[in-house]
């Protein structure tokens, strides 16, 4: 028998998604121990269970073993299968939590993935669906994942705590990815955004827009923020509002920022004006950090670079987030790949903070699931 690759072992539930995604892509089994072992309520939470179920749905032949208390998880990956699926995400995390991992996996399925995700579309913790749509999808396009069947559609919005949103994600299948060289972030030419409000006064969205514009107008005049007020069935089960902003540069880089109102019944009520201001400031922070990819998608771009052909890929990033740093370590343990990391002081004065140039040679990954005729 072929000796199964020895499994990787980790402790704790943090970075669970990374580990499962990388395990699926690399084919190496993974074992995670001591998941909240010392807490009052040990083991996996419902959103993690839901995530594992989702992974099980998109793969074929994977083996998942969880012990009785849920503190130990063993995952032996199968092959990515895809197809037309539906998944009810747990409302304790937003759809973004699930979608981020799906974005990593979707291009390598056997059949093109078309999945309907239900749950919370926007919350304060995870990147929302709006931002992912505006930033992650253009990023995937750079790697050659493009075409008609590539879309992310928000059919319903759902706010925490009850959710009720619905999102359709479809992604075509690729055999290999192109290497990228994006070292020039370009200059921001326009800012777009969506101010959404569900089950609250439609006027709130306009108030958000006005306050956000008041700050951003100092930098650039080309700003358009859509107001998206959902009614009836498409407005989910809980009230809430928020804003997501995306800055587009001349070289096709998208930097996003977002802010959502406190969930109903938790925390104090947020003034829409304040939210708009804060969100605009967050966007400015993001611009300050800069790079060719915004901070949420750093790990995605690094993964896709890793999975490229055996060619050099380069990307310029802002400061690395802790999540990304851990992701880099995981990439090394799963794919034996190391990035060349160079810090680039900003060339000129007024261009924000320090940048990091990441260079790697792809591992020559090819989609083993795809059928050839």
């Amino acid at each position: 028998m072929a000796s199964q690759q020895h499994s990787l072992s980790y402790v704790g539930c943090n970075f669970l998604r990374q580990r499962l995604v990388l395990s699926t892509l690399s084919g190496r089994p993974v074992k995670i121990r001591k998941i909240r072992a010392k807490e009052e309520n040990p083991g996996l939470r419902d959103f993690e269970a839901s995530f594992i179920r989702l992974i099980d749905k998109v793969t074929n032949g994977s083996r998942i073993e969880i012990n009785q208390t849920g503190t130990t998880l063993y995952y032996q990956p199968g092959l990515l299968y895809g197809g037309v699926l539906e998944h009810d995400c747990s409302p304790s995390r937003s759809i973004g939590y699930y979608l981020e991992s799906l974005l990593c996996l979707a291009p390598f399925m056997k059949h093109p993935l078309r999945i309907v995700l239900r749950g919370v579309t926007n919350d304060q913790v995870d990147p929302s669906v709006d931002v992912l749509k505006a930033t992650a999808l253009p990023l995937l396009k750079k790697f050659g994942i493009d075409g008609e069947g590539f879309e992310l559609k928000i059919t319903r919005r759902g706010m925490p705590p009850k959710g009720g949103g619905e999102v359709t994600f479809a992604c075509p299948v690729r055999k290999v990815l192109q290497p990228i060289q994006s070292t020039d972030p370009g200059k921001i030419k326009r800012i777009r955004g969506t101010a959404y409000s569900v089950r609250v006064s439609p006027q709130i969205a306009n108030r958000i827009v006005d306050s956000a514009r008041s700050i951003l107008n100092k930098f650039i005049p080309d700003i358009y923020i859509y107001t998206d007020h959902m009614k009836g069935t498409s407005s989910g089960k809980s009230p809430g509002f928020g804003l997501s902003l995306v800055a587009e540069t001349t070289s096709g880089t998208f930097l996003g920022a977002e802010l959502a109102s406190n969930p109903q019944g938790q925390g104090t009520a947020v003034l829409p004006e304040e939210l708009g201001l804060n969100c605009a400031k967050l966007l400015l922070e993001e611009i300050y950090r800069g790079g060719c990819v915004d901070s949420t998608n750093q790990s995605l771009v690094l993964l896709l670079m890793t999975l490229g052909q055996q060619d050099v890929s380069k990307v310029l990033l802002g400061p690395l987030s802790p999540y990304t740093i851990e992701f880099l370590r995981h990439l090394r343990s799963f794919f034996q790949i190391m990035f060349k990391i160079e810090t680039k002081p900003s060339y000129e004065e007024l261009q924000g903070g320090e940048k990091v140039l990441m260079t790697c040679v792809g591992i020559g990954f090819s989609n083993l699931s795809k059928t050839i005729k």
Binding site: A2, S3, Q4, Q5, H6, V11, G12, C13, N14, L16, L25, G27, R28, G61, P77, L79, Y97, E100, K110, V125, K187, I188, F219, I220, A280, E285, I287, G290, T296, S299, D311, V312, P319, L320, S321, Y323, T324, L328, R329, Q336, M338, F339, K340, I341, T343, P345, Y347, E349, L350, Q351, G352, V356, T359, V361, G364, F365, S366, K370, I372, K373
Partner: protein, 1293 residues
């Protein structure tokens, strides 16, 4: 010869030379026209037909595109690995001779025996690895996968053999390497014509197999057992200029054709258990793609392994340095073949001989101790007693007794107060020198005592600063304390960040361990104290000589190693308490890194100071030797603390600060690693070094790489620490809360802003002003500037309407001119020139854009893109040294690598035979896993049998050879995979098996058995991988039958098809059918007979009808995957591997005959006579029928009348006689008449002949008479004419 000389010279009438001459001649005559005919005579080439023209154009384009290959990124390294040349052929064809000749041709060396691959330098840019391929099919398969060039030897006197064709087919499946045929044994042909014919025949056959025009070489005869020199030389030339097209499998996988193998297993393990798994190192050139450490590999013939270590070695057969000469220097003609005994190592079956040559004396260990051990004749103890070792350059040599005494000896620190500066200085003092005669244990106790004291009283006893705090007066104290405060701040968040030694020593740990024990119950507070202490301690102690010297000694006195572990663990315990204090707050990686660098800088500045002090120390060292032991103990302890802490912190693995610490540590390790190695040499220019290091750290930005990855070496002990067990029984639980918090933190990819900047401030806002299009642009992109540039270039134009001439501004504006005056004229010129060039370039670009636009095709663009990528790939890591390059890229192809592999079966080493190639094939991601593999398969047209489903068969797929059980299927029109019992004869079919996951599009071949030889063609099937999956979709047909037991009109009750109502429920609505073709549907299950159901049909059934339902049943595929482990077989039996046998084989071997079912035997066909009943038409129907169809009532025939049946006549004997006579007479008469008739006819004939004759005669006579008559008449006439003529003449007269 003379005749030849006399032969006349023939002028060339055709060819390029003749053309040239003709042209020249024409030119001389003035007729020559350089223009082509197309221009000279345009009418002749005018378009006659648009359609025809379109067609020709189409055709030329087709031909052009046909030549294109899909452009691929060229990933060949700059210094490629040697070309793998595989020499193949049936036995006794001259393979070894050819290899020997080739080697001799290239290197002028003669190899006696060739084992394994031989690497030689064949030219300035090329090396060759030549390997011989035996006739074992395993070897053939393996080598076909790694070959770049195949030299296929063919015995011309015999013709092609099966091996040749088999090898060609193997090559076709696994990517087609370049193949060159070589014909040998041509001297056996005596007849020249025969030879020519054979050559031609073989050549054409070879062309059909390879490609038309494939190179076939002829080696005519042998001279003294070798091939002719000139022919070998030519062959060598061909080989060394050959170009290769990259093969997909080879370029996407790393692989090594091993040329050396060493067993690294601990001999003790082998002694204890001779069958234990081995650790082996394998050497060879890396080819194909980049190899990463820890990746999976497959050794064909052995199995799958994980690489446990890779390192690259200097090239044993390096290409020559750049030289201008065309040919190679004699000394550059290298050869490397360790298995054949060329590289200085000779492998025998059970021993390895190393040829040390002249270097023997040089290599000899120059350590006195070791040397004396080598040439020992007495026991080691005796020798040890007499041998001496000098530890330091100018110290007195140590004897064994010294060593024994020194079990606990370590450099002790001795405090001295410098009189000038008032600083406390630490001195490394060795115990034996202040030998106080006290026993070790007592000393130990003393130490502990003193330590405890100090712990209680003061935190920084062994510490410079602590000491100075206490003893120094006034100003200095202020300064230092301030400094210290500052440091504490920084260290609070990055505790214990400071460097420790890379490898701590036993003694140190032990002593600290002891302390640890005493400290176990101490409070947290104290732990914090330790933290402070340790930092400062470390700084100096890292430089301290005491440390290094103690290490030296400890090597000879490795006492109480066992205890060490325990103690270290206890240390960990403490560390964790310490760890609690450390609260990581991170904003971003960069920010913390910066902070850290600050603190680091400070630290290093401090260090500098201390080092200066230490310098003095060393000078004073010799004089003072009275040590107080407690002080160094303390000091050393601190080091240990920091050390263990760092190790521990990694457990958490995810906080940035810790890694920062490592980073610093790493930096300092580097500084000191060299120093610690040499005894005290490092002290020589410490200040300078420290200054340098300081500057370096100041300059270099915080190294993110260290932050992310840490240092590579440290990763390994991470896991070791995780499960240490106390005495193998108790697990030490360590409360590492900090790491746990991290481990179970919220999993979120967002990067929240910790300290938002105040975006209302103008300065802050300005900091990102240029990120927007409204901000300032770079010089080369600024629109205004670009416009200006263009103005300069294209500024001149004339307005035709007004006639005004616009001039662009002169290149240098006035303002500029003023500036320029100061400058040198040369610079001006330069500038001018540049501008001119710029302008020219722009104009050219414009021109090109206008006229060359259409030329660039999609193909060209793609090619250019690939070219760019190639350049980028090459340039990216070019300037880095190999060590760091290897980390990013992996090991490049072309490197000579040493690969360590563990857990190799012992048979591999025991039965090692260098004649069989060892290949390490790298596996991609998840290629080490198993699953269901779907193939498109076709039985080979030369294989004589068809293949049976469920018969085990050996596949060669990817790197692997393995036995598995495939199932053959065919895809129906609706996409269903229907199982086949046998593979089709001349058609593709699908096959599924359980085996290793291999990328789609990989070719494979199948053979029934790899053992023994058969005269027949062995390759059973070939094909390609289509799909990989973890579940299967192959189905076979299943017909369920049932019988009606109750029949109503169209409804019947059927039983016997199912066993339970549940089964029926599952099949409700399914279509069923009777054998006679009546269709129906299952309606509902019945309660009473289990499994019966109600069904409706389109017609009424008969009780005799059989009802059946057609269903599809999924087939399970046996999970049988058995790698062919042919290399593990004993030498000489390596080609006898047999795996699972087919049932047929087993039956044959065991003599079990197949028991056939009775009803499947053939019986003689007996046809019963059919009786058909008379057609009976009912009367009523008869009546209704038209007359035509009515059965006619034929009247019964009347009885024959009496005259119809008369009695026979019986003659009397007399009458009989009469009638007989009459008959006889009549016979005679008739005969006579017949005769007479004949006679008459004869007569008549004669008469007619006679008459004819007479008549002829008569006619003749008449003719003659007529002739006579006419003659007379003619004469008369003549006469008459004559006379008449005469008369007239007379008349005239």
């Amino acid at each position: 010869m003379e005749e030849k000389d006399r032969k006349k010279h023939h002028k060339k009438h055709s060819g390029p030379k003749a053309d040239k001459k003709r042209k020249r001649h024409l030119n001389d005559l003035g007729l020559g026209d350089d223009e082509d005919a197309r221009k000279r005579n345009p009418k002749a080439f005018a378009v006659q037909s648009a359609v025809r023209m379109a067609r020709t154009f189409h055709r030329t384009q087709d031909l052009k595109t046909k030549k294109h290959h899909i452009p691929v990124v060229d990933r060949t390294p700059l210094e490629p690995p040697p070309v793998a040349v595989v020499v193949v052929g049936p036995p006794k064809v001259g393979k070894s001779t050819l290899i020997k000749c080739l080697i001799r041709n290239f290197t002028r060396q003669k190899l006696i025996e060739i084992r394994g691959p031989v690497t030689i330098v064949s030219g300035k840019r090329r090396r060759l690895t030549i390997i011989e391929c035996g006739c074992d099919i395993n070897t053939m398969i393996d080598l076909a996968k790694v070959a770049d060039l195949v030299l296929m030897l063919i015995d011309a006197s015999f013709g092609f053999e099966m091996e040749t064709f088999e090898f060609l087919n193997i090559c076709q499946v696994h990517g087609f390497p370049k193949i060159m045929g070589v014909l040998t044994h041509l001297d056996s042909f005596k007849n020249n014509k025969q030879l020519k014919k054979t050559k031609k025949r073989l050549k054409h056959r070879f062309w059909t197999e390879v490609y038309p025009g494939a190179k076939l070489f002829y080696l005519s005869g042998m001279v003294y057992g070798e091939y002719p020199k000139q022919e070998i030389h030519n062959l060598g030339r061909f080989i060394s200029v050959m170009k290769f097209r990259p093969l997909t499998w080879q370029t996407s996988h790393p692989y090594v054709l091993a040329d050396r193998m060493e067993d690294l297993t601990n001999p003790e393990h082998v002694r204890v258990n001779p069958k234990c798994d081995r650790k082996v190192s394998i050497y060879g050139y890396l080819r194909g793609a980049c190899l990463k450490n820890q990746s999976q590999i497959h050794m064909p013939g052995v199995g799958d392994f994980t690489v446990c270590d890779v390192s690259f070695l200097p090239d044993p057969c390096a290409l020559p340095e750049q030289q201008k000469k065309r040919s190679l220097n004699e000394k550059d003609k290298l050869i490397y073949a360790p298995l054949s005994g060329v590289g200085g190592v000779v492998y025998d079956k059970d021993a390895v001989y190393i040829d040390l040559g002249r270097s023997h004396e040089e290599v000899r260990p120059n350590h006195e101790l070791v040397q004396s051990l080598i040439s020992t004749h007495s026991t080691i103890d005796v020798k040890m007693a007499s041998s001496k070792v000098s530890l330091f350059m100018d110290s007195k040599p140590l004897g064994s007794e010294d060593v024994e005494n020194q079990e606990f000896v370590m450099p002790k620190e001795e405090k001295q107060i410098d009189l000038k500066t008032g600083r406390v200085r630490r001195k490394a003092v060795f115990e034996e020198e202040n030998d106080n005669g006290a026993s070790d244990e007592e000393e130990g106790q003393d130490e502990e005592m003193s330590e405890d004291e100090m712990d209680g009283s003061e935190d920084g006893d062994g510490d410079d600063e602590g000491e100075s705090d206490k003893e120094m007066p006034g100003q200095e104290l202020d300064l230092r304390s301030a400094k210290r405060m500052k440091r504490e701040e920084t260290t609070e968040e990055a505790a214990g960040e400071l460097p420790a030694f890379a490898d701590s020593d036993d003694d140190l740990e032990m002593s600290s361990g002891e302390e640890g024990e005493t400290d176990l119950d101490e409070s947290k507070e104290e732990a914090e104290d330790h933290g402070d202490k340790e930092e400062s301690n470390e700084k100096e102690s890292s430089d301290s000589d005491s440390e290094s010297s103690s290490r030296q000694i400890s090597k000879f006195a490795p006492c109480e190693l066992g205890r060490e572990d325990k103690e270290r663990r206890e240390n960990h315990n403490l560390d964790h308490r310490l760890g609690k204090k450390v609260v990581p707050t991170t904003d971003s990686g960069n920010c913390t890194a910066e902070e850290a660098s600050e603190s680091e800088a400070e630290g290093s500045s401090l260090e500098e100071e201390e080092e200066e002090g230490l310098n003095d120390d060393s000078e004073a060292e010799e004089s003072d030797r009275k040590g107080i032991q407690s002080a160094p103990e303390k000091n050393v302890d601190g080091v240990e603390w920091a050390e263990s802490k760092v190790v521990e912190d990694e457990d958490g693995g995810d906080d940035i600060e810790n890694l920062l610490k490592e980073e610093e540590e790493y930096g300092e390790e580097n500084d000191f690693s060299a120093d610690t190695a040499g005894a005290l040499k490092w002290k020589e220019d410490l200040t300078q070094k420290a200054a340098e290091a300081f500057l370096r750290q100041q300059q270099s930005a915080p190294n993110l790489r260290k932050l992310v990855y840490g240092t590579v070496a440290e990763d390994a002990d991470e896991e070791d620490d995780a499960d240490e067990e106390l005495g193998g029984l108790f697990h030490v639980s360590r409360p590492d809360k900090e790491s746990k918090q991290k481990a179970n933190a919220l999993d979120c990819s967002k990067f929240p802003v910790e300290t938002p900047q105040d975006w209302d401030l103008d300065e802050v806002m300005n900091s990102i002003r240029d990120c927007f299009v409204t901000g300032k642009w770079e010089a080369d992109k600024d629109a205004a500037k670009l416009l200006k540039d263009d103005e300069e270039l294209y500024g001149d134009f004339e307005d035709l309407e007004t006639g005004a001439v616009h001039k662009g501004k002169p290149a240098g504006s006035e303002g500029e001119k003023e500036d320029k005056e100061g400058k040198e004229p040369k610079a001006e010129e330069e500038e001018e020139k540049n501008k001119r060039m710029d302008k020219k370039r722009k104009l050219k670009e414009m021109f090109d854009a206008e006229y060359d636009e259409g030329d660039a095709t999609y193909f060209d663009d793609l090619k250019e893109e690939m070219q760019k990528q190639t350049q980028l790939n090459r340039a990216e890591f070019e300037d880095q040294d190999d060590e760091s390059r290897v980390q990013y890229e992996g090991f490049r192809p072309g490197m000579y690598v040493r690969i360590e592999i563990e857990n190799i079966p012992c048979e591999f080493v025991l039965n090692f035979d260098p004649h069989y190639p060892i290949i390490l094939g790298g596996l991609g991601n998840s290629e080490g896993n198993v699953g269901y593999v779907q193939l498109r398969l076709k039985k080979h047209r030369w294989y004589k049998k068809i293949l049976k489903t469920r018969d085990p068969i050996i596949f060669s797929l990817g790197w692997r050879r393995f036995q598995t059980i495939p199932m053959y299927y065919i895809e129906d029109h609706n996409g269903r995979h229907r199982l086949l019992k046998y593979s089709p004869q001349h058609m593709h079919c699908g096959a599924t098996f359980w085996g290793p996951i291999t990328p789609q599009g990989t070719g494979f071949l199948a053979i029934q058995s790899v053992s023994g030889t058969t005269p027949d063609f062995r390759i059973a099937a070939t094909g390609v991988v289509l799909d990989l999956d973890k579940s299967i979709t192959v189905v076979k047909k299943l017909k369920l039958t049932g019988f009606p037991f109750k029949i109503y009109k169209n409804t019947s009750f059927i039983k016997g098809m199912f066993n339970s109502p549940l089964e029926v429920a599952k099949f409700e609505g399914a279509a069923i059918r009777t054998v006679s073709g009546i269709r129906g549907q299952i309606k509902k299950g019945l309660r009473k007979p289990e499994g019966a159901f109600r069904a409706t049909f389109e017609d009424k059934l008969l009780m005799s009808d059989i009802v059946f339902m057609r269903t599809w049943y999924p087939v399970s595929i046996p999970a049988f995957y058995n790698p062919v482990t042919s290399l593990l077989k004993p030498a000489g039996e390596k080609d006898t591997w047999t795996g699972m046998k087919t049932t047929g084989q087993l039956r044959h071997e065991l003599g079990i005959r197949l028991k056939q079912k009775k009803d499947s035997l053939y019986k003689p066909i007996v046809r019963e006579k059919k009786h058909f009943n008379k057609l009976h038409i009912p009367k009523a129907l008869q009546k209704a029928l038209p007359f035509k169809n009515k059965p006619k009532n034929h009247e019964k025939k009347a009885k024959p009348t009496k005259d119809q049946w008369r009695p026979a006549v019986i003659r009397e004997p007399h009458e009989k006689k009469i009638s007989a006579l009459l008959t006889a007479l009549s016979t005679v008469h008739s005969y006579k008449i017949k005769k007479a008739k004949l006679n008459h006819r004869q007569h008549l004939k004669d008469y007619l002949r006679k008459k004819h004759k007479e008549e002829e005669e008569k006619f003749k006579k008449q003719k003659e008479a007529k002739k006579k008559l006419f003659r007379i008449l003619g004469q008369k006439e003549k006469k008459r004419q004559k006379s008449s003529l005469k008369g007239s003449r007379e008349r005239e007269k």
